[in-house]
Symmetry: C2
Subunit: 361 residues, 2 copies
């Protein structure tokens, strides 16, 4: 067979050169005479890999020196519990802005640890927009304001960092990190599961302004303490070394390709191709997200006739376009078009969609 | 170059056939037209991989049906915090038996959540033995009794499950799981980071008697709730799919090789080879652990002349025997000889040690 275009929302497609390098080094990494997955995390070899990955990520995202970068386990969901544990006092309020499913997950994980305030929500409108900033009700003295920069299921994305004053802005960037330049200094905490835009599944990046690490937070085990992780350079216990290494390869690939400015251009072109097909289909396809809030990473869409869903999925798969089924919470279709998805793949999907409409519209 | 014998304590050597299969499938897994690391965890392909891994692990370890098997992130250390959160009421006592470094780690992580009682400790004797059962002071009404089945740094191992009555026995089996048959029904909870004897780094197995999942435990986020993980078949959030897959390959390899009975025989022979060299060296090498408590997995030893340490490490590395440096907490040397270390590798080390002594003794 041959590799197809994989539109999975995450775990998601990886750059082929990254997979080829991981493949070539699977039995022996450089001159180590062992696979990287077999090397001690305390050894000079892995420490070099880990430090290079951090240096490259700092360069890719222009992360200021006063931010720590942590490489952790547990996915974004675990961070959604650790964030209030680390940054909120017991009983303190924290503001959450909901623009989709994952904002609600963040709230669910935080509730045992913080007085959750829903500062704004677009749920009543089916999460088809970002709640307008002027309608947010922020709590004075809140520990932080939490947003989901890009909602993977609902396909709703913030444009830039909202202004929230002195309160730290905490953002789940799992599905849009490194897709365009961001001003890290506007955020207190940025966290992201790697399996969408940073590389492989099984590792999570937390970028945190160092002064926040001095917050007392709440009683917690050392393994739940971001400060301890920062002090030990994310080696408080055995980190997921192989995943860290493949993340490093992916970040290096992004730098080699031209960095986030180049991916911002590519991603804008890719998203435009799909939204044009949808908007130009006369209602055969539809995406209901407010145009100014449409995600460049995840394009959910529905067929006018739901009865055609199965045929669409079967024919697209046969055409080498994989994993287009929408999330079960929403139904319909979804094309996830992260950095590693080439323009060629999106073009093939756009052509398939036009052709499918011609044949079944 | 060629692959050497890697005595790393973890991440540790993997079976070469496992690495070869992971390598062959790195770009395309079966007919998926994508790498397994790129497939959705909710898709039929990965679910088959995950379920097969669980079924094989249940067969390998003869896990009774009334035990749940969880595949989690965070390493053993995270479980050391989650265990009291899930199984102890706030303020309840829990007994800890200390036979080395990792028992103390378990205590450190548990302290914020449980009234830790040190039921017994061999620390005063330098952790060179298991505290004798008759000297343990167990607390009536304790939530559980915690032991470390094998101490990776100190090289001290329990022989079988100690009798603790009705209180659930919780055991960190990170460095000896699957090294010999165990009677799972003697334990309430068995947990193990995979990176020593079960496969790759980045995934942790928790085997828990289902009735314990009904315990209320303490207020906690859903992502910290073992019951939620059990209900969702360890897919509460995106699991480390690639690591799970390689764990499955490793477990399958162990079954193909003859299962835990066969590995028990091999491991006994391997450990005997090294302890014989040490004990027969007239003090040139020494291991200070009480013979009845010596680990079959991790053999720490010291050279009579510490000044020879560097030379020993340099010469052994040149001879293709890697990662023999002892843990910084103890110094000296350590040979970790998990299931994936072939007898041939241990024989080569034993011969090297004899030869080194001849030349420098």
């Amino acid at each position: 067979m041959s590799r197809a275009f994989n539109f999975s929302a995450g775990p998601a497609t990886l750059p082929e050169p990254v997979l080829r390098q991981a493949q070539a080094e699977m039995l022996e990494w450089r001159d180590a005479r062992a696979s990287l997955v077999e090397l001690s995390h305390r050894g000079a070899e892995f420490i070099e890999v880990a430090q290079q990955a951090e240096a490259d990520l700092r360069r890719l995202l222009s992360i200021p020196a006063d931010y720590a970068v942590l490489f952790l386990q547990g996915g974004a969901t675990a961070q959604q519990a650790l964030i209030p544990l680390n940054f909120a006092e017991p009983g303190q309020a924290a503001d959450y802005v909901l623009s989709g499913h994952w904002g609600k997950t963040a709230v669910k994980q935080a509730r045992p640890y913080v007085d959750v305030r829903i500062a704004a929500s677009s749920e009543a409108g089916g999460f088809r927009d970002i709640p307008p900033r002027e309608a947010w009700t922020l709590t004075p003295g809140a520990a932080y304001v939490h947003i989901t920069a890009n909602e993977t299921i609902h396909g709703v994305e913030f444009r830039g960092a909202p202004e929230v004053g002195e309160v730290p802005l905490v953002a789940d960037f799992s599905s849009s990190i490194a897709s365009e330049p961001i001003d890290v200094s506007r955020y207190g905490v940025i966290y992201a599961g790697a399996q969408k835009n940073l590389g492989p599944v099984g590792i999570t990046v937390v970028i945190v302004r160092r002064d926040l690490l001095e917050r007392a937070g709440q009683p917690r085990a050392d393994i739940f303490d971001y400060r301890s992780h920062a002090r030990s350079e994310s080696m408080l216990n055995t980190p997921p070394t192989w995943n860290w290494y493949v993340l490093g390869l992916t970040v290096k690939w992004m730098l080699d390709e031209g960095g986030v400015e180049e991916f911002a251009r590519r991603n804008a072109r890719k998203a435009a191709m799909l939204y044009e097909v949808i908007d130009g289909s006369g209602g055969f396809y539809r995406n209901e997200v407010a145009p100014h809030a449409r995600s460049r990473m995840n394009v959910p869409f529905f067929l006018r006739e739901e009865a055609l869903d199965k045929l669409f999925l079967a024919e697209s798969k046969a055409a080498g376009l994989l994993a287009l089924k929408g999330h079960r919470a929403l139904g319909g279709m979804r094309a996830s078009i992260y950095n590693a998805m080439p323009e060629e793949g999106v073009r093939a999907l756009a052509e398939f969609m036009r052709d499918f409409q011609r044949r079944h519209g």
